[in-house]
């Protein structure tokens, strides 16, 4: 939904579960994206805890976790959402005079709109929800309610196993063949797939050095760094402003992605495009590791038309350092707008290869996979 269309925003507000107050100072270019005052959302949602009858408690808990930032990362969000849906389906019972298919679909749609209000969906979650609705719609009418529910839960389990867990194992198997002894590998942010690749290569006994590049305000690389160092890998940690200095020593770059679009554009955490561009300038191969369920048939040419806006206070304040408060009085002024983008789009020219569970493909082959394998498989 485009948020600069006033009538639509009003209609959506009336149906909304989470009460959001819109931020006052917004960048003109990004007015079509939702931006809310971050401080008020969580307390308001908490006070309504017992009043949301149609909401299942597991879905509510996941929504709260998204809102407070307790869960991050495409795979984790998708898995958490599916686990909540499994609980909701388990406790679901068809009301009288209604069919299971239509009512359950309506119920899932209401859960999804609640989750969207807490935090906009990532593309992988969108694909997963499409899959679930497709499975519900394809349920044979003759099934009893308990059979239908157990079929759905098995389908969800199968999706998680095949598309997320198994595909990660396949990607790891492919990717470790690209790591040789003596390599210096660079990674940006904290991608679950890349972490598994590095740990698996280390277990196989390869000798390599890892450079973890991180950026404010989320500083996600620190969590990855902690886990790698604990396992005994030799690591270097730096911030994204130094990436052009460190790129001279790097032999390969491994990046994760939130999604890969049909024109080969990689949609990932903000800063990935910078890293890929610098790597390209230094002739370092960039390998993007992404599960196939995250592919999307959309085409995006820039980072503006579809993105997510985070909390602007996160960039004006440093956590734990109260003395860095230079922007404190200026936040509400007319001529200062704080912009905290979460995602960005890396053009396909900078990507050398995409490693998926269907194999190692060039970026131009993404629409082929979307076209061919979507139809055979479960979501189309």
């Amino acid at each position: 939904m485009q948020y600069d269309d006033k009538s639509r925003v009003e209609k959506a507000k009336k149906r909304a579960v989470v009460k959001q107050t819109e931020a006052r100072n917004r960048v003109e270019l990004f007015r079509h994206l939702p931006q809310y005052e971050h401080g008020t959302q969580l307390p308001d949602l908490e006070t309504k805890f017992f009043e949301l009858d149609p909401m299942h408690p597991a879905v509510y808990k996941v929504g709260l976790q998204y809102l407070s930032g307790d869960i991050r990362g495409g795979n984790a969000r998708c898995i958490a959402m599916f686990q909540a849906f499994k609980e909701a389906i388990k406790d679901y019972s068809t009301p009288p005079e209604k069919t299971l298919i239509r009512d359950l679909t309506a119920r899932i749609s209401s859960y999804v709109s609640f989750l969207i209000e807490c935090r906009p969906l990532s593309i992988s979650m969108g694909n997963a929800i499409k899959f679930l609705k497709n499975r519900i719609a394809k349920l044979p009418l003759a099934l009893s309610e308990s059979e239908a529910k157990s079929t759905l839960m098995l389908d969800i389990d199968r999706f998680i196993n095949e598309k997320i867990i198994l595909s990660e194992k396949v990607i790891v198997k492919h990717a470790v063949t690209k790591i040789r002894d003596g390599d210096v590998l660079l990674t940006y942010g904290a991608s679950s797939v890349v972490e598994m690749i590095l740990l698996h290569a280390h277990e196989l006994g390869k000798h390599f050095h890892v450079v973890v590049v991180d950026s404010r305000p989320k500083l996600e690389g620190q969590l990855l760094l902690r886990r790698l160092v604990r396992k005994g890998l030799s690591c270097t940690y730096t911030h994204v402003n130094a990436v052009s200095c460190i790129m001279q020593d790097v032999t390969r770059v491994f990046l994760g992605a939130s999604s890969v679009l049909s024109n080969g554009t990689v949609y990932s955490r903000v800063g990935t495009a910078c890293v890929a561009m610098v790597a390209h300038a230094f002739h370092v191969p960039v390998l993007v590791c992404c599960e196939a369920y995250k592919f999307h048939e959309r085409v995006q040419l820039d980072s503006i038309c579809f993105n997510e806006l985070g909390n602007p206070d996160a960039i004006s304040k440093v956590q734990g350092r109260k003395e860095i408060n230079y922007l404190d009085g200026l936040v509400n002024q007319e001529n200062l707008q704080l912009l905290n983008l979460i995602y960005d789009a890396t053009p396909s020219d900078y990507v050398s290869m995409i490693i998926t569970d269907y194999g190692m493909i060039p970026p131009t082959s993404v629409p082929v996979i979307v076209r061919e394998y979507r139809r055979d498989h479960l979501w189309s």
């Binding site: 908490e46 006070t47 795979n75 867990i165």
Partner: protein, 456 residues
């Protein structure tokens, strides 16, 4: 939402002796002409929690409370009254009703808490962190003008009784240390293990435990079964859970195995481990998570549980009725600053008869059927139903309950006068409490005393 609510309504209370009696148990003590239990139940009703268990000490008190509840809340709430023997403490009360508790989480509210903090916020915090216990903390309420009076000599002790020393982690979400009342005089003992795990602890003395808790049912029942000498939730159970949050091996060691489904295949267990690893890696680990991992990253056998807090914002009102001073304060606040707590059908009774030249101040409440004589002055006070007040009477800063007769020329300041009391002419009372059914003889003057009919 899988929450069960238990309201601990107490029964008789030694702190409030002349005010509570056999006919008027503590939960029915009126605040602004409305029993204090009403405020708790009203707030729960507004949060859509309709199934409650109310625990009262003493059979007679239970009958009275039950009668009042079914009268006031017919059809609006579904309440089960449980009577427990007297003097077994809050933990004992929960132990007695523990077989009624079936939901996954239990919300325990004290029946003498007057506040406008929604219980949903506490429950949401509890669920979000998957905590074993969550406490609500509020800022210490400003005590009223304690003009000498009965709280004089015991002022320090009373103040300490209400104070808590609370230790929080830097993100103000987890409770690391709690010390109440009597322990504050002695040295504070802080667990080194917890301090080592968390790194930084903030000690605060301006927060008070509001006695609204959310417990995970399995944890609560296990603590109550294992430690059967625990009497009080606030002083025994909660500090025990806080102290043992990083070494709960003896406790809670059956939870992970018991809750998995019966699927024993190795591959599915591997998948479960995979999934839980992805989810764990996705979020910033709390110090519990970091503590329970060995230095090389594998999960050790150290089990931890989380004790979370919810800090009510400083603009919300939250006071517990556990002393006479608190009773006066709550009455004053509810008619003054915090009047959003009053229900709309309780503002001024329909027919108080006021004599000529009688002034009633702005923050007063007069019950229905009360009559006042000429030239009276009522300031910042609450007068119950069916009172007969003579002329030239001055009532300042006081609480007068129902069916009281006050003779002419009385001066009542800062006092509490219970039901069915008769004050004859020209009585002067300052900072007194007069128990139910007492008769104060004419012309007497009392200062800072507590008058009660002798129990035969």
């Amino acid at each position: 939402m899988d929450f069960q609510v238990v309201v601990l309504a107490g029964g008789n209370s030694k702190n409030l002796t002349p005010l509570v009696s056999k006919e008027l148990p503590k939960p029915l003590l009126p605040v602004a002409n409305c029993p204090v239990l009403y405020y708790v139940l009203h707030q729960l009703e507004q949060s859509n929690l309709k199934d409650l268990i109310v625990v009262v000490e003493g059979e007679d008190a239970a009958l009275l409370v039950g009668a009042w509840i079914s009268g006031t809340f017919i059809d609006r709430l579904h309440v089960e009254i449980a009577a427990v023997p007297e003097d077994i403490g809050t933990a004992g009360a929960l132990r007695a009703i523990s077989h009624h508790l079936t939901a996954k989480d239990i919300l325990v509210v004290s029946g003498d808490l007057v506040s406008d903090v929604p219980p949903g916020a506490l429950a949401a915090t509890h669920r979000r962190h998957d905590a074993a216990v969550t406490t609500m903390l509020c800022s210490i309420p400003v005590s009223g003008p304690s003009e000498s009076g009965s709280s004089g000599g015991k002022d320090k002790a009373k103040k300490l009784g209400r104070y808590n020393i609370i230790g929080l982690d830097p993100s103000k979400q987890f409770l690391l240390h709690i010390a109440t009342g009597a322990e504050i005089e002695k040295d504070a003992r802080i667990s080194k293990r917890i301090l080592h795990a968390v790194g930084q602890m903030e000690m605060r003395s301006d927060l008070m435990d509001a006695h609204m808790y959310a417990f995970k049912r399995s944890v609560l029942q296990e603590v109550l079964d294992v430690k059967d000498t625990f009497q009080s939730l606030k002083e025994d159970v909660l500090p025990y859970l806080v102290r043992s949050q990083l070494k709960s091996e003896a406790l809670l060691n059956r939870t992970p195995q018991g809750e998995e489904n019966g699927n024993e295949k190795v591959s599915s267990q591997n998948n479960q481990a995979f999934i839980s690893r992805i989810l764990a890696n996705a979020s910033t680990p709390s110090f519990h998570g970091i503590y329970s991992k060995n230095p090389d990253g594998s999960s050790s056998t150290r089990k931890t549980h989380k004790c979370c807090v919810y800090i009510a914002s400083s603009s919300s009102y939250c006071v517990r009725l556990n002393s006479i001073q608190a009773f006066m304060d709550i009455n004053r606040d509810v008619t003054g600053d915090a009047d959003h707590l009053l229900s709309p059908n309780n503002i001024i009774g329909p027919s108080p008869k006021l004599g000529t030249k009688t002034t009633v101040g702005p923050n007063c409440r007069l019950g229905e059927g009360s009559e006042m004589g000429d030239k009276c002055q009522v300031k910042r006070s609450i007068i119950g139903r069916h009172c007969r007040i003579g002329s030239h009477v001055k009532v300042v800063n006081s609480v007068v309950m129902n069916h009281v007769t006050i003779g002419d020329g009385c001066i009542i300041q800062g006092s509490v006068i219970c039901s069915n009391v008769q004050l004859q002419e020209r009585v002067e009372l300052k900072d007194c409490q007069v128990g139910a059914g007492f008769v104060v003889t004419a012309g007497s003057e009392y200062k800072a005393e507590s008058l009660a009919k002798k129990e035969k």
